[in-house]
Symmetry: C2
Amino acid sequence: MSLLVVGSIALDSVKTPFGERDDALGGSAVFFSSAASILHPVQLVGVVGDDYPAHALEQLAGRGVDLGGVERAEGASFRWKGEYSYDLQNRETLETHLGVFAAFDPQIPEEFRDARYVFLGNIDPELQLRVLDQIHEPALVACDTMNYWIHGKREILLELLQRIDVLLVNDAEARELSGDWNVYRAARWIVDAGPSMVVVKQGVYGAVLYESDRLFYIPAFPLEEVFDPTGAGDAFAGGFMGHLARTDDVSPDNLRRAMVYGSAMGSFAVERFSIDRFNEIGAAEVTARVREFAELVRFDIEPDDGRLSATASAAEGGT
Amino acid sequence: MSLLVVGSIALDSVKTPFGERDDALGGSAVFFSSAASILHPVQLVGVVGDDYPAHALEQLAGRGVDLGGVERAEGASFRWKGEYSYDLQNRETLETHLGVFAAFDPQIPEEFRDARYVFLGNIDPELQLRVLDQIHEPALVACDTMNYWIHGKREILLELLQRIDVLLVNDAEARELSGDWNVYRAARWIVDAGPSMVVVKQGVYGAVLYESDRLFYIPAFPLEEVFDPTGAGDAFAGGFMGHLARTDDVSPDNLRRAMVYGSAMGSFAVERFSIDRFNEIGAAEVTARVREFAELVRFDIEPDDGRLSATASAAEGGT
């Protein structure tokens, strides 16, 4: 089933304790597409400036990303520059140049408007709403946002929440949006505000899929080497949505699988700068990692439940 | 199989955003015993002052905790006073009065020396070593420690690591001990230093069981209300060791189950002040929570693995 992403296409300059890279492919739509296209073809809508390296986008096209919705505008491309702390747990934004992204007004090509699975990357919620107005009948809409919009465009964001199915945010964003520091109460608040599900991403600690009557927890993949955390959340979204679009199945069990694909893609994203890791892997590596996740959390409840009750009763007798 | 714990018996004064309690039952050995005794009888070794409320320990005896190793010394009991931040993520120690605990020199009663499962609560590693010298032939020794000993008695702690099977520490302690901020590299460092396993507890984010060639991750139980985090780590240890002692089985699959019992007990501990929650629950509540954990992390890999490869190949063809 068709999968559409609308988001930023950027050039990132990133410094980590392990090296630095200038003007690397970045942006929410790029990380999303790089991950999702391993699972399923992607339709991408975004804008680049006239300085954007053409060959860079060609690599995406070669991997099943339809660039028919990428507008090339006059001016500079969106550039972001950041530096990570020694333990990669904090990052400082050094520079942000919106360039052509400042005037971005997403036009969904006619042939993309039947998209069934839609991911609204982190852009102005006004634009996210305008994208939805152009989509005919999506089966599932997922959406990301950030603190900047939570504070600056709260009312419009709340309106948007009533038109989406899944909000994907990190724990800090969930807390800010709900005003509650407890992640599970925050998730409940969000689901009460509109979407039927919320995915709360917790970085190295994994992610939670919250529905009003169900919870699923998937850890982050245990990596001894993390190289560059940039784009992990968008890669997660790419795995999550790519799996759903590929299987066209939003049953509870398949949503759990989608979380595992999301966590797998997030883990690949951080193993190299930019989208480099996604250029190295294919379906086989993803499948292998999904199996490793299964082993990571696997446990069986004891076959003989009677033993606990019997022993505990004996213990209650005391000695 | 016999289960022995050596650790502190304290009176805690705790203030949380939800209330405060003075001189409540606390200490590593008390939290451990309260949790473990729901699963299996416990032999407790510790010291109290002559001011310790006798009835308080009687409740433990009534639940299968053998107090034959509790020494009553002249002087004041160990008292700790602390206050938690609004989100319970940080706590400040306001007062620590070691009292009779300062001169604690654990004497293991003859009838406890055949203990098969031994938990060394967080005390001076010199004393932990002396305890081990008194145990005949333990099947499995687990041990806790803290930053104070990691800095102050590093050499002795390293000696101790070579004589234990499992180190249970939180992520900050694992980092301090190893000098590595990556939790998985830190765990590898610890296993290389002696124990065959390390359990890294990560508070609300769950816990990892690390062996040189295996990893298991169990999340913390998703609680919308956390009341008082004091003692959660010792309750975790109580669930972990209580399950192992009850089943007398240290196979990989049973160690995974022990982690689930540990996480379950940790989640009960934080639902009330002190050990109050353990006075309300029995085997049925523990079993129910273990089942909820199974549902929390459950997912099945797709039955048809072929689909991913086929679709991905199509995607590689591009559009």
